[in-house]
Symmetry: C2
Subunit: 425 residues, 2 copies
C-alpha cells in the first residue's frame, strides 16, 4: 500500500515498524560508505600491469623526447592520440596534463581570473562580480571551486535531457558577467543522464553577451558505459561549436581517473586550436611539463582507443551488478510505497535519488548514525543548498555487492523513517 | 700576454688569428647545447630501477591509503618523511605534490594573487602594483613567471655570499607592495654560490612593511654536491625565520627533478604549520590529490635520506668531470688573456660566466652560429635585460665530456672574438 493511501493510524503503525527496523540496523554496527565516486579495489587491480611491466627500458616518445627529462609542455604525441580518438578532437586541440582534470579546470579558471581567456577584454578578476551557471544537481567540486574563487553561482534546473536551455539561453544573452557554465554532459554526476543532441546543439549555439563566455564541459564519463548494447552517445561539443560559428566557446575536460587510476591517471583539456595556443603560452610559465613517464605508461598499456574500450568492459563487469543491486532494492523497497524517485543511468558513477521534499538531510543523518556514509545532502547544489532538501547522490562503485545490498536496505529504511517522521509526526 | 697589455697592432693580429679559429670551428658543423640545466641520459639511467621494480604489488601507503585511488591531498606520510629529513622540516611543515616545483611556485603566487596568503589584508591582485625583489643573475623562469603575472621586478645585485642584503632590508621596510623575493640559496642558479649564514639570518630577520611579504626560497640544489669532502652548507631558513619571530615569512620549494627524473619526479613546498594549513585549505579546491603512486615509487626506491645521498654521489661522479673540464678550459684559454670571470661552484647545475661588459649577447650569437647553443644572454636578469650585457650561464651537465670540451673551446674563441671586435674594431 502506498504511503499516500494510508490513514493516520496505519502511518503510525508503519512508523513504529520502520523505527524498529532502523534500530535493528543500528545494532549491526555497519561501517560502509556510498559517499564518493571511487573505484573499488578490484577495479584498481585491472590496471596493475601498467605499473609493473609497461616501462621496460624504452623511455623515448615517438617525438624523440626522453620522457624522463624536461619538456613537451602539451604532452607526448602518442598520449594525445589516445585522447584524440577517445574524444574526437584534433592534434592541435588537446593538451595532456598531470593526474587531475579537476586541477586543469581550476587552473583554467584561475588563469582566466588572472590573465583572461581568448577574446577577454580584461582578466575576470577585474570585474566586481563574475558568475557561473550551475545546472543542479551537479558535481559538488565544481560548485566548491566557484565558491572558493568568489564566483557567484546561479542554479539552473535539470530537465529530462539536460539543463533547462531556455533559462541558460536567456541568462547568458543578458548578462556579460556570466562567464561560464558547468556541464557534465555524459552520464552526468549525479543524475546519470546524458545530454540530448538538441541540448548539445543549443549549448553550441548560445549567443552569450560576454565574448569570453566559456562552457566548461567536464566529459568525465565518456567511455564509462555499464552495458555493451545499450549506451548513451552525445554529440561532439567541439565540432558542434565549430559548426555554430562559436569555435572558441568551449573547454572540454576528461581524464583516465576512472579508467586507470584516480591517484595516478592522466588528465586532458581540449578546445579550439586558438584556445589551446593561448593556454599553452600561459601555461609555459607554470611548468616545464607534466609527468611524461606516466603518459608513456598509459600509452604502452592501452595502446589505443580500442584498448581503452576493452578495459572499460572489465570495469563495467565489476560495477554493473552494483548499480543493479541499488536499483533492485530501491524498486523493491520504495516503489510500492510511492516515495522517492531515482534515475536509471546506463553509465557513469552515480545514481541520483530524489527523496520527498524536506527529507534528504534527515535521511543522510539517519544513515550516518547507523554507520552508512552518504554524500552530504545538499552537496549536489551550489553553496550546498538544495532548495527542496530532496536530492541524494548514491555512489555504488566502492562497496562490495553484499555491503551495498545491506547499505541500500538501510538507506530505504532511512527514507521511509524520515518521511514518516515528517508526515506522521 | 693579457689583452689589456697588447697594443693596437697586436690586437689586430690576434683578432685575425681568433677569427680564423672561429671560422675553423664553424666548418666543423657542431650541434651542441649548453643552454639548460638538464641531466645527461646516464644520469637518468641511474634511477631506472624506480620505474621497473618499485611498485611490486603493494600500493598501500603506511597511512592505509591505496595510492592508486583518490585522496591524501598533502602527500603520503612516507614521502613527507623523505623530504623532512632532506630539508630539516617537520611533518606539518610540508606538502608533497606533483612533478614540478615550478608549478608549486606558480600556484603559490597565483593563489596569493587571487586569494592572498596568511596575514594578507587583501588578495595581491587587488593592489595596482605588486613587486618582487629579484637577486640577479638568477633563474630565468622565476623572472618570466613574475613578468607573465604582471609582477614588477626590482633587480638586486649579488655579493660574494648572497644578494645585497642592505638593499633588500631597505626596500622591504619601505614599500608594502613588495610582496616577495626570489632566492636560490644553495648552489644558486646560475652563480653556483651558497648563501652565508649571515645572509640567511638577515633574510630571516627582515622587517618588511608588508605583513604578507614572503621569501620564495627555491632550494633546488640542496643535495646536489659535486664533492664528498668539500660541500657548501646553508642554514635552515624555516628554523631561522622561527627564531627571528617571522615563522610565516618563508615558502621553501624543492624537488627530485635532478635527483630522480625531471619529467617524473616529486615536488615539495615547506613552510610554517600555519602557512601549510592555509595552503592545504586553498589547494583542496584545486585537486583531490597529487600522484601518490609516484610518491610511493620514490619512497620504495630511495627508502630514506641516506638513499638519496648515496644516489647523489652517483650523479656527482657523472657530472663532476664536466664541471672540471669547463673550468679547466676557461682557466687555460681565458685566464692568461685576462678576460672574463667565472664562478667555481661546488655543486648545483651551473657555472656563471661574466664576459667583458657589452660582449655577452655577441658571444652567445657567435656560439650559436657555430652550432653551440648557450642560455640566451640576459636571461639571468629580470625582463631578460642584463644592464652590463655580461652574464652568461653555462650548463655543463647534458653534453658528454668530449662534446663539452669542444663546445667550451669554441666558447672561449667566441669570448675572445667578441671582445676583440669590441676593442680592436
Amino acid at each position: 500500500m502506498k504511503y499516500s493511501e494510508m490513514n493516520k493510524e496505519q502511518l503510525t503503525a508503519e512508523k513504529e515498524k520502520v523505527q524498529k527496523a532502523y534500530d535493528d540496523f543500528k545494532r549491526q554496527g555497519l561501517k560502509l560508505t556510498m559517499a564518493r565516486g571511487v573505484p573499488a579495489p578490484e577495479q584498481l587491480d585491472l590496471s596493475i600491469n601498467m605499473l609493473l611491466h609497461c616501462l621496460d627500458g624504452d623511455y623515448k616518445s615517438k617525438s624523440g623526447a626522453d620522457c624522463r627529462s624536461y619538456g613537451v609542455l602539451d604532452g607526448i604525441p602518442e598520449a594525445k592520440e589516445l585522447f584524440m580518438e577517445m574524444l574526437g578532437v584534433k592534434e592541435d586541440e588537446v593538451i595532456v596534463g598531470g593526474n587531475s582534470s579537476l586541477q586543469m579546470m581550476y587552473d583554467t579558471i584561475i588563469r582566466a581570473m588572472q590573465l583572461g581567456v581568448l577574446h577577454s577584454e580584461k582578466p575576470w578578476c577585474k570585474y566586481d562580480k563574475v558568475k557561473f551557471l550551475c545546472p543542479a544537481p551537479g558535481y559538488d567540486r565544481h560548485f566548491a571551486m566557484c565558491e572558493a574563487l568568489g564566483i557567484e553561482m546561479i542554479t539552473v534546473p535539470y530537465k529530462e535531457d539536460g539543463p533547462d536551455m531556455d533559462m541558460i539561453e536567456k541568462l547568458v544573452a543578458e548578462d556579460e558577467t556570466i562567464k561560464g557554465v558547468w556541464c557534465v554532459p555524459m552520464y552526468s554526476n549525479p543524475t546519470g543522464i546524458s545530454y540530448s543532441d538538441e541540448v548539445v546543439r543549443r549549448f553550441a549555439n548560445l549567443k552569450p553577451k560576454a565574448k569570453d563566455f566559456r562552457i566548461f564541459w567536464d566529459n568525465a564519463y565518456s567511455v564509462h558505459h555499464l552495458y555493451d548494447d545499450d549506451r548513451d552517445k552525445i554529440l561532439n561539443i567541439i565540432r558542434e561549436c565549430e559548426k555554430a560559428g562559436n569555435p572558441d566557446m568551449v573547454f572540454e575536460f576528461s581524464s583516465t581517473s576512472k579508467i586507470s587510476f584516480p591517484g595516478g591517471g592522466l588528465a586532458v583539456i581540449c578546445a579550439s586550436k586558438a584556445n589551446i595556443e593561448l593556454i599553452k603560452s600561459q601555461m609555459a610559465y607554470q611548468t616545464i611539463g607534466f609527468d611524461k613517464l606516466n603518459q608513456l605508461r598509459h600509452v604502452k598499456y592501452f595502446k589505443n582507443f580500442e584498448g581503452i574500450e576493452k578495459h572499460m568492459k572489465a570495469h563495467a563487469a565489476i560495477i554493473r551488478p552494483k548499480f543493479e543491486v541499488v536499483k533492485y532494492i530501491l524498486e523493491k523497497e520504495l516503489a510500492p510505497l510511492g516515495i522517492g524517485e531515482w534515475t536509471n543511468p546506463k553509465g557513469g558513477y552515480f545514481i541520483s535519488f530524489n527523496a520527498p521534499e524536506g527529507c534528504a538531510k534527515r535521511i543522510v543523518a539517519l544513515a550516518k548514525d547507523a554507520g552508512v556514509v552518504m554524500t552530504n545532502a545538499g552537496a549536489t547544489y551550489p553553496y550546498g543548498k538544495d532548495p527542496k532538501d530532496s536530492n541524494i547522490r548514491i555512489a555504488p562503485t566502492y562497496p562490495s555487492v553484499d555491503d551495498l545490498r545491506k547499505a541500500m536496505e538501510l538507506f530505504c529504511v532511512c527514507v521511509r523513517l524520515a518521511y514518516l517522521e515528517k508526515i506522521a509526526g
